[in-house]
Symmetry: C2
Subunit: 331 residues, 2 copies
DNA sequence: GCTGGCAGTCGATGATACCGAGTGCCAGCC
DNA sequence: GGCTGGCACTCGGTATCATCGACTGCCAGC
């Protein structure tokens, strides 16, 4: 598609623009590019690269800036998986060696880690709960007509739903329901709950059904938890205050973020550039799913300007997703 | 301290500066102020106001800008508690009427509500867990040597701690410990856990002690949960990108936020202006505690530039804190 | 087909002048 | 004595203009 030299020139432009954020002129390219040609030749090639949509010229007498298509080519050509520098690698190691305790806190910390590694905002989407195995079910009375359904999952997460009961329900009845639910739900996954057999006691059956309904409803509607780390970094990555506002605004809306990341779930380590995704056309996103016990569980990602450091971001996301998955598989 | 006219002039300067963000000149004040005097007189007064530290002049031949001290006077003089406009009031009503379900989600939504009402970033600090009564204690095995301690509190919150056990522990033993813990801890508060009597079984006692230790440790060290809403609004409230970064950066650090808000816990509805607090001298904070069942439980606050709309923010924080407390007291 | 040379473009930078909002001060008036 | 109108003065912001320089496109020649 692009001959060797054009590709080299495009690469040089992208690299320099990522570094300097200034339009890149032909002489810079001639100096930097692997191919040794004169600036005039570079200019001729750049005209064509512009016609083909890889580059863009803000105005005559200015250098060139990569378009989204240009970044796309650059990223696709990044055969080198890129690896983290030594200190970053060690940080990741140390982080996951020390990582411990509640899964939510760990995911939050992971987003923070990723943000620090890349210097961009980072997002971690928690493992969905559909596939998690139920370890324990319990109904706890909070008020005469309110009970809390607490479900402990095998990965250490705890789901809870508030149940509004039709009538005052004593602790004995709740205990009976808890026993009934425990007997039949423990060992199943939230995604595929078995139907409960009748107990003979209609009141117990009614509350049990309520609990199961609440559980399925919660599993369906609740969006996966999103952890955003390093949001303040968007303020330096984008210097226009309006861009900052837009990005932050999107990051506040969990479901949008989930949508942004999750449609790349089965594509592995992926980059989405500017206009390739729906909101945030000024941003690029580097995403990867992480696998727990062989199954894709959640995603992690980094969000930066289109002129982000893709190499570094890709390396960081790859490493962290792998280690996070491994860590979570250990249980 | 300030005579009537000086106060009126200062008020006019503050009000206009809050609105326009431009240094305010004497003629504007003369036009707007309640007192009808000539610009020349206003100038004479302003010179004194500046000498006394209420105003500041960016440069000769510019208008005046309030200092933090000026804002302080203005805020203290706000006898009018200020009430929300009708639509906002209805929004709050509607919100708490509909509010329902898990407490965490509700607090998060509350921060969002407060942000929308004021158009500044808002923070909600959840009720501390020390005073909450334990409704249920349960140990759930996750792995041979790992168990999850799940504690349900009377306010619907769920605390959990991961326990690392010394030796493989079967479900029967965990059940025994759960029974033991339940028998003695349910009904106590996390802040004042009773000491457990021995059961006679050393293994059970050991695990139980481990659980209690984890619980006290968690209650001590875990910072109160912080919910930040409307963070993107700092991007419009501050137009310097560096200021935005600083504010966001602070908002990311939960414990700093808690510190910022919590030292005003027993002072009721409070405003802290610029340099009056430690970090974020460019910001003002409007805070109020909310009370659950008569006891101060947590705090809510709004964070904006020193030239924020104090009236509106005060009104919003007052109303929301009151209704939030009431809502949480209902259980 | 590559290159050096060259004229041309156009934003960025800097000097200059000007404008106007705002001040401090003062003399006069109530 | 205090308020006011008048006045000279300051000084940042804006507009104008020239210059500069980093580019480009094009062309003739190697």
């Amino acid at each position: 598609m692009l001959d060797e030299r054009k590709a080299a020139i495009l690469r040089a432009v992208v690299e320099e623009y990522i570094e300097t954020a200034q339009p890149v002129g032909s002489s810079h390219v001639a100096r930097a590019s692997g191919v040794q040609v004169s600036p005039a030749t570079v200019r001729n090639e750049m005209v064509q690269l512009e016609q083909e949509g890889y580059l863009h010229q803000p105005h005559t007498s200015a250098g060139r800036v990569p378009t989204d298509k240009g970044y796309r080519f650059f990223v696709d050509a990044l055969t080198d998986p890129g690896s983290l520098d030594a200190t970053s690698g060690q940080r990741v190691q140390a982080f996951f060696r020390r990582a411990h305790g509640a899964i939510e806190q760990m995911l939050q910390d992971t987003s923070q880690l990723l943000a620090e590694l890349t210097d961009y905002a980072a997002v971690v989407v928690g493992p969905g709960h559909e596939d998690a195995v139920i370890r324990s079910v319990q109904l706890v009375g909070l008020a005469p007509r309110t009970a809390l359904l607490v479900v402990v999952l095998s990965n250490g997460a705890v789901d809870k739903s508030v149940l509004d009961l039709d009538e005052d329900t004593g602790d004995e009845r709740l205990a009976a329901v808890t026993a009934h639910l425990s007997a039949h739900l423990v060992g199943s996954t939230l995604g595929e709950l078995p139907t409960l057999p009748a107990t003979g006691d209609p009141a117990t059956d009614r509350v049990s059904a309520l609990a199961v309904d609440a559980l399925t409803a919660a599993t369906r509607t609740e969006p996966d938890e999103v952890y955003v780390g390093g949001a303040s970094r968007v303020a330096v990555a984008f210097d226009a205050v309006e861009s900052v506002r837009q990005v932050l605004s999107v990051l506040e809306q969990q479901y949008v973020v989930v949508g942004l990341l999750s449609d790349v779930l089965d594509r592995g380590l992926t980059v989405s550039i500017g206009s390739e995704h729906q909101p945030l056309s000024e941003c690029s996103i580097v995403v990867a799913p992480y696998q727990v016990e062989g199954e894709p569980a959640g995603t992690i990602g980094v969000l930066g300007p289109t002129r982000m450091n893709y190499q570094q971001a890709l390396a960081a996301v790859a490493v962290v997703s792998r280690r996070l998955g491994r860590r979570l598989s250990e249980g």
